[in-house]
Amino acid sequence: MDDFLKPQVIGTRRSFLKTTGAATLAFVSPPLLNETAAETAPMQSEHVWLRINGRAYALDLDPRTTLLDALREHLALTGTKKGCDQGQCGACTVIVNGQRINSCLTLAVMHADDEITTIEGLANGDDLHPMQAAFVRHDGLQCGYCTPGQICSAVAVLTEHKVGWPSYATADVASAPALTDAEIAERMSGNICRCSAYPNIVAAIREVAEGGRS
């Protein structure tokens, strides 16, 4: 793997931009030029340590930075995708303290004490996480843009199901429901796939839930 994909400690957006070259810089500059300095200048810079995929990163962040932007723009962890940036599509799903969340709707500075897992943290070296392998086996994707979010979400769905959480598809909310296809679909409804690979996504999740390759 290329060094770019394995960041150690990366300080600021500026240092990241330096490493990624003029093309990225040109891309991010125009919006900055169109607004007044007063509007874009941060009122404070917040020092924060983020623990991501078992590794600690020190960052100085404008508090406006979402967790998603911290991952992608400051740490080069670009596996987590920005889709709608408003909590509707699920492409930005990451696992925080064992629970899936939309990283676009939370500020990075609010996660100083948290254990964050992104798609980059699921595999063990070259060994894919069982959910990743199942998505490959079942062709649970077409364009692949939503896939990191789908997989992070699916991994957390299995945990939620294992501890007995009900869903809207659960007829008796006091019961511990079986993970039927209807339950999987309902629990995954926060992850949109524009290619509509849903049947294969459900099949991949079902396979992992049932304990492996079917």
Binding site: G87, M110, E186, G190
Partner: protein, 327 residues
């Protein structure tokens, strides 16, 4: 997003005093607030993070109800076995809202205080009395199919989007708050939301810096509970109409009923008219229709949302039939 100063509150008192400053806001889950900040509809100068406050527990009350800390996530509340067994209506309502990811972040207090999903509140090119007081209401003559039909005014026809709050309204929940001067008070959930007046941007009776500390559920009333939601998609969509009902009945007649609607008004709409109509009513379709007619008697459509008058009646009827096992 406009720049703001981010501060972590170490205790309830300091959180309240920090948030009592002009243009200060609490942040807990942030799923609604951050979205609105990106659109510059919310532009706080100070953001007071309350996540470190010890308000994340669910405890039994002496009267055998539950006290829910304001930071309890929607997921944790819906999954709590005491809630699932004694207040299944509340679990159902929460699980009917948002997505798994959002419910993991969204909190109890934040859910109550979420802003409307009226498309004209979100569209900053259009007038909106909530967003820009005095600018007018583009929804009145606009694409208003998701808007309110009860408790409306010509200043605003926005709905409150919560499912959770509808169930809590049927359960007679009480909201416990603490103000920046340390004063505490208990507000019946039905009195939390201000009706549309001349100040549509002020949506609740809470004072600046007043923090929802907890929500208390009284012991569950007798009867079966049900939350029924109708929406444009099978999952992950706001209610067009929803209803939370609790019905006690024998084999022939209703003994007592509660009904609250979502998607119809600026707040979860408890219908005492429907409840009065249902008292001692026969378990028949005619009774259920009469309750729906009573609930909607003061309703007013604005064109695209006229369908809600009929849909609300049908949703109530279907819920009553389901919960009583009749027709």
């Amino acid at each position: 997003m406009k720049p703001f100063r981010y501060e972590r509150a170490g205790g309830v008192a300091s959180a309240c005093s920090k948030a009592a400053r002009p243009a200060a806001k609490f942040i807990a889950g942030g799923t609604n607030l951050i979205d609105l900040m990106k659109l510059q509809i919310e532009t706080p100068a100070h953001l007071v993070d309350i996540n470190a406050l010890p308000l994340r527990g669910i405890e039994e009350t002496p009267e055998q109800g539950l006290r829910i800390g304001t930071l309890v996530t929607n997921s944790a509340l819906a999954a709590d076995m005491r809630v699932r067994r004694r207040y299944p209506l509340l679990s159902q309502a929460i699980l009917a809202g948002a997505s798994g990811q959002l419910r993991n972040k969204a909190t109890t207090g934040g859910n109550l205080l979420q802003r409307t999903r009226c498309p004209y509140f979100y569209d900053t090119t259009k007038p909106c009395n909530k967003r820009v007081p005095g600018s007018g209401c583009a929804a009145l003559a606009g694409l208003n199919r998701t808007n309110a039909v009860l408790g409306v005014s010509d200043n605003c026809i926005a709905t409150h989007p919560s499912d959770m709050a509808v169930a809590m309204t049927a359960l007679d929940a009480r909201v416990e708050t603490v103000a920046s001067d340390g004063a505490t008070r208990t507000i019946p959930i039905d009195a939390l939301y201000r009706p549309p007046g001349d100040t549509r941007h002020i949506e609740t009776v809470l004072a600046p810096g007043e923090l929802i500390r907890s929500v208390v559920l009284p012991p569950p009333p007798a009867g079966r509970q049900l939350y029924r939601k109708v929406r444009d998609r099978a999952s992950y969509a706001f209610a067009l109409v929803s209803v939370a009902i609790i019905v006690a009945h024998d084999s022939n007649r209703v003994q007592g009923a509660r009904a609250a609607f979502g998607g119809l008004a600026y707040k979860p709409w408890r219908s005492t008219d429907a409840e009065a109509t249902l008292a001692d009513a026969a378990l028949t379709r005619a009774s259920y229709d009469a309750a729906g007619t009573a609930a909607l008697k003061d309703a007013r459509g604005y064109g695209h949302n006229d369908f809600k008058l009929l849909l609300a009646r049908r949703t109530l009827r279907a819920a009553l039939a389901d919960v009583t096992g009749t027709i």
